[in-house]
């Protein structure tokens, strides 16, 4: 049995290896990446459903007859959504900086940037909460209302999850200081953040622009 190590065995000493490496070298990064793959699949299916509803509905979007005022041109309002989009996209700046400073172990910067990202995040959530009204439909009005609410809701769920992670790391950094594991966590948080922003750019185009410029 090879477990009992005889003197003949060559020792492959790993004690000098590091305990933390960033990105694809770490299991955590992979776990996060795969979960994001799952969520991407989810959003892909949601988009597919959106277009199947589009094919079933003529005119698209359907005239709003369920509630007053009755609208025959029921394109979603753009003002608030665009503000939201801007907030979400600009939140990239602090999150990229956070990612960088985590890699360079700049504790001071991290402690400044974490609250900033969190505020961006919370603002985005609040905007999203009011953004639902600019769809002009309720989820229970018709399939178009259902799918648009579903898409916005799923993404809002991710914003909230992001905020929770942010809060956790904030708490940890201020209570316990920063160590390697949490530097890694910060970079992974960054990946999640980029994904949330990127997905929203696509979803924004589909939910708000496709109805206006129907192909």
């Amino acid at each position: 049995m090879s477990e009992a190590r005889t003197a003949k065995n060559v020792a492959l000493d790993v004690s000098k290896l590091p305990t933390t490496l960033f990105d694809a070298h770490s299991a955590l990064w992979w776990g996060n990446a795969l979960l994001l793959a799952i969520e991407t699949a989810m959003f892909g299916i949601l988009i597919a459903i959106y277009f199947s509803v589009m094919m079933q509905t003529e005119p698209f979007p359907p005239p709003r007859v369920e509630r007053l005022p009755v609208l025959y041109e029921s394109f979603p309002n753009l003002t608030l959504p665009i503000v939201g989009l801007i907030v979400i996209v600009t939140s990239l700046i602090p999150s990229i900086m956070l990612d960088k400073s985590a890699r360079n172990k700049q504790v001071g910067m991290i402690k400044i940037l974490l609250p900033i990202t969190l505020t961006f995040n919370i603002v985005a959530i609040v905007i999203r909460y009011y953004e639902f009204d600019s769809l002009l439909f309720k989820w229970e009005d018709n399939a178009y209302g259902s799918i648009t609410w579903m898409i916005l809701g799923m993404h809002m769920f991710h914003l909230i999850a992001l905020a929770c992670e942010d809060v956790f790391l904030l708490a940890w950094t201020y209570v316990k200081g920063v160590d390697d594991k949490h530097l890694l966590d910060l970079t992974v948080l960054g990946v999640y953040w980029y994904w949330v922003v990127g997905v929203w750019v696509v979803l924004f185009g589909i939910v708000y622009l496709v109805p206006r410029f129907t192909l």
């Binding site: 090879s2 477990e3 004690s15 290896l17 399939a143």
Partner: protein
């Protein structure tokens, strides 16, 4: 000797008594404690894996007995043992639990148990998430069967077509139970898939490059990726269905009159539903390759071909779902394309069969129970695959679809292609899991009984289908003349039940009294056979370096072993993805109560979602709290004090480094 001395000695050459004391320390570090609380929180991949397998088999027995009851009802025409109400609940619960509570979880459970051992690591990548997914799976199963006992078992078929399962025709809470069970099990399956992929990518023993990975690990890798891309579809669609049905929500995803589409459901479901079949079949191919290699006493013929065909199966598997919808009003052209792809997928499966047959042809056979089960696999699965070719043809499918022919087909594929290899695998790995051999003769009897019983049940169904018997009928008229073949099938069902009893008896008896198995009773190749059976909690005291495509068969006496992993914390070795050269030491986590709490909250959230939408925010908040505690406790484990000191500093505000206090 003291800790410091040991740490000094880590890298130098060590004497046998030091090995002994090191092992003692490892035992303590990886000990999960005793008692009920320890049992609740124990997240070691071996105990979780075994729980998965045992629980799945319990559900297997339960839904199997449902099947026997249904066969009894169909024994003769105009039978009145089960009314339509009961019968519908029975076949829906049978299908749902066989698919979501037995076939997939048991395959994942085997993976959770075997993969870390087979690739030579001490623990799965995310042990606590692993425990979490086990609890979710358990709760989902309990939910389904309790619902059945309460006479609110789902009754719309295991693929719950709308509008029959919709808010208007799916009366009561029955379909909600179904959709919540599906959602919960899928979450757990997805979590396990992620776990397995990361484990395989990062934790293989040094030298086990991708091209040296055992075929079973390959099949689990492919399966995990299939799960990751297939399961979201069904999770989402079941959620949408429950939202359509839920009071105060009542969305319109599947309501044709408001822009929804009943066919959308079928697309979504089968986009998951067909890959599901391969999610069950691919791990089984891994079992087959392992068992054949061991009992034909030669390396598997066509390693690359087998890997490639597994991957090809995965890809094509996503492009065939419409062949479940050939009778629906869909455009002709689309259907022809899916005929082509459905026939295309036969090719990789053919390649696999040919490779295995060739391996057997070129080998010297050591005929033991596992191999006998594999013979059964050939006899049944090949037939099922061929009837699959028939169902791929649109015109033929319009005659065979939704008849007993189809019932026969997918039982040939799933039981032949999934369950026979699984039983073989249980007979094969039972010694490793428990340290005792299963009785070989009983195993052979078991296999033969199962084979005969199976063919008695399901072969007549082909003919019944051609004779016009639709599936899911709770009875049939006398003048149809289906009585005799149904009687034959029912008798076969009882034979299968006897076979199952033989299995259970064999397992229980051998577990208590069976002969002690050595480390490697079959003279097998893969790494798990190098450790004691059952393996120690930490699997490997010294992770060996892999020197060839056949791990143990190529291993030289003085192969290199890994030293220098920390003794006082649960440390794993991370290697590079492609050629598995050591990269870093990773500290993993021990027992925790948080997985259980989070699972309770998640499952509770889904279950209450049958009644009120407010369960979502509540569950989200509570699980956020739980996860906070979970991650906090993850982070506050003590860190190894030696080696790569620069990585173990805590940086305070000024950024001035200071030493970690243990």
């Amino acid at each position: 000797m003291t800790k410091e001395e040991l740490e000094q000695k880590q890298s130098s050459d060590i004497t046998p008594e030091v090995i002994g004391s090191e092992r003692a320390i490892l035992e303590r570090t990886w000990d999960n404690g005793k008692g009920f609380y320890a049992w609740l929180t124990d997240c070691n991949h071996k105990s979780v894996g075994i729980r998965y397998i045992v629980t799945a088999f319990i559900f297997f027995v339960m839904s199997g007995s449902l099947a026997v009851t249904m066969r009894t009802q169909l024994m003769g025409p105009e039978n009145r043992i089960l009314g339509p109400d009961m019968y519908n609940q029975f076949f829906t619960t049978h299908g749902t639990s066989m698919m979501f509570l037995f076939a997939v979880p048991v395959m994942l459970g085997m993976g959770v148990y075997l993969v870390p051992l087979m690739i030579g690591t001490r623990e799965i990548a995310f042990p606590r998430m692993n425990l979490y997914s086990y609890y979710l799976f358990l709760f989902a199963g309990i939910l389904l069967f309790v619902a059945l006992i309460l006479n609110i078992g789902p009754d719309a078929g295991w693929f719950a077509y709308v509008p029959l399962s919709g808010p208007e025709f799916g009366i009561g809470k029955r379909v909600d139970v179904w959709s919540q069970v599906v959602s919960i099990t899928e979450i757990s399956a997805l979590a396990v898939a992620v776990n397995i992929v990361v484990t395989i990518f990062k934790q293989r023993a040094p030298g086990m490059s991708l091209s040296r990975m055992p075929l079973y690990v390959w099949s689990m890798l492919v399966t995990a990726f299939m799960i990751i891309f297939a399961m979201p579809a069904v999770m989402l669609s079941s959620t949408l269905l429950s939202m359509d049905r839920l009071s105060k929500v009542s969305t319109h995803f599947f309501n044709a009159a408001e822009g929804g589409d009943p066919l959308l459901w079928q697309h979504l479901f089968w986009f998951f539903g067909h890959p599901e079949v391969y999610i069950i079949f691919l791990p089984a191919t891994g079992f087959v390759s392992m068992i054949i290699a061991t009992f034909a006493r030669r390396r598997t013929f066509g390693y690359t071909a087998l890997v490639m065909s597994a991957i090809a199966t995965a890809f094509i598997g996503f492009g065939v779902w419409v062949h479940h919808m050939f009778a629906t009003p869909l455009p002709q052209l689309g259907q022809s394309i899916f005929t082509a792809s459905s026939m295309l997928i036969v090719i990789p499966n053919g390649v696999q069969i040919f490779c295995w047959v060739t391996t057997l042809w070129l080998g010297k056979w050591n005929i033991k129970a596992p191999l006998v089960w594999i013979f059964g696999f050939f006899g049944i699965f090949v037939l099922g695959g061929l009837t699959g070719v028939m169902l791929a043809s649109v015109p033929l499918d319009t005659q065979l679809h939704d008849t007993f022919f189809v019932v026969a087909h997918f039982h040939y594929v799933l039981i032949g292609g999934g369950i026979f290899p699984l039983f073989g695998a249980i007979y094969y790995w039972f010694p490793k899991m428990t340290g005792r051999m299963l009785n070989n003769t009983a195993g052979v009897v078991n296999a033969v009984l199962m084979f005969i019983g199976f063919n008695m049940v399901f072969f007549p169904m082909h003919i019944l289908g051609l004779d016009g018997m639709p599936r899911r009928v709770y009875t049939y008229a006398t003048e149809t003349g289906w009585g005799n073949l149904n009687m034959l099938a029912t008798i076969g069902a009882y034979v299968m039940a006897i076979a199952a009893i033989v299995f259970v008896v064999n397992v229980v008896y051998s577990f208590l009294r069976g002969p002690i198995a050595g480390d490697n009773p079959w003279g097998a190749d893969t790494l798990e056979w190098s450790v004691s059976s059952p393996p120690p909690t930490y699997n490997y005291q010294y992770i060996p370096e892999i020197e060839g495509p056949n791990a143990l068969w190529d291993m030289t006496k003085d192969h290199a072993v890994v030293t220098g992993l920390h003794l006082y914390s649960r440390e794993l070795l991370h290697t590079t993805i492609h050629d598995a050269s050591p990269e870093k030491r990773h500290q993993t986590h021990g027992p925790s109560i948080f997985p259980l709490l989070t699972a309770i909250i998640t499952a509770g959230g889904f279950i209450t979602f049958m009644f009120t939408p407010w369960s979502v925010p509540t569950a989200m908040f509570l699980s956020a709290v739980c996860l906070f505690g979970w991650f906090w406790s993850n982070s506050t484990q003590h860190r190894p004090p030696f080696a790569s000191i620069k990585d173990n500093l805590i940086y305070d505000d000024g950024g001035v480094p200071r030493e970690v206090a243990i």
